[in-house]
Amino acid sequence: MNCSKTRLKLLDFIDGNLDQKNTANVEKHLSGCDVCRGFFTELQQFNILMHTEKKPNVNPFLSNRIVETMVLQSDTPSQLHRRHFSKLTAAAAIAVLVVAGIFGGLEIGNRITSGLSSSQADHPEISSLVNELNHEPLEQMLFNLNTPAQ
């Protein structure tokens, strides 16, 4: 077996995956070839490294660190869903309040206007006040109050 053929079988040789005949051929070549033997030694070292890396030591605090980071960085899936939902609910509630405020205000305004007009006959004193305010706006009245009498 020549060098290139031997080299291609070295990983299988290390893993014990070669049949008897090929194993014997590789062994024979390695015993007589310094270069291939040197490479074989290096491959063995790489193989040992791969095995030592297989079960790495896990930092015992890693799981705590991860969970803490998650809690700090984000919400749980259901919390995310809940938060999303609560934001939508809040927006909807605000919209409802605004609309209700506008309509409520208009309704109250209408009632006052219609109420006043119907009660003007019953309560002439209120009617005169309202009429007075209509004719004499509040700003004008306040201005007159601040102006010294001549």
């Binding site: 490479f39 290096e42 490294l49 799981s63 991860i66 969970v67 980071t69 984000s74 899936p77 259901s78």
Partner: protein, 179 residues
């Protein structure tokens, strides 16, 4: 708690269940990530990223595959992204060889590790994935086929080619280091 109950509980936001999920799968994720990146600190960072992704996307997990298959896929994607970010391309193995030539010190395990992982990361992506899952996680061809969504024979062929390519790359490095 089995995986099904665990997923259900995590979806509901059960912090204890998530803790259990981390305990159950951290070793698997670190081992896989380490197989790809060859550095424990980086593997820990990737593990954290993987759990964040699991946490955020658990609602989209449909259980078409097993939980471990899904987690392996996330880990592989994260690890390959990490390698891409670190720009560990195949030319770097030459740089490592140059360092070896300049120093002429006996090769330390740390250097050997770097060379090994540079050689693995310079393999074509699918060969790299199949080789890493087989060699670092001891997964069967069938499990790898499920994770990679390929046939068993295709996985077998990927691993065979990966081993031959790796051998060639390491021989190139060894040959150059002797000059």
């Amino acid at each position: 708690m089995n995986d099904h109950d665990l997923i259900k509980a995590v979806k509901k936001g059960d912090e204890k269940a998530f803790h259990e999920l981390v305990e159950n799968y951290q070793q698997m994720i670190i081992g896989t990530a380490l197989g790809f990146v060859g550095n424990l600190d980086d593997a820990h960072d990737i593990t954290q990223d993987v759990f964040i992704e699991i946490y955020r996307s658990i609602n989209s997990f449909r259980a078409d595959s097993s939980l471990s298959t899904w987690i392996y896929r996330i880990t592989i994607t994260r690890s390959l992204n990490h390698i891409r970010r670190e720009k560990r391309h195949k030319d770097q193995i030459v740089v490592e060889t140059d360092i070896r030539e300049e120093t002429s010190d006996p090769l330390e395990d740390a250097d050997r590790k770097k060379i090994l992982h540079l050689a693995i990361s310079s393999l074509p992506k699918n060969q790299q994935i199949a080789f890493t899952l087989h060699n670092y996680e001891d997964l069967s061809y069938k499990q790898i086929a499920q994770i990679m969504q390929r046939s068993i024979s295709s996985v077998e062929s990927l691993i065979f080619r990966a081993r031959k390519n790796l051998q060639k790359k390491l021989w190139e490095w060894y040959k150059n280091s002797r000059v």
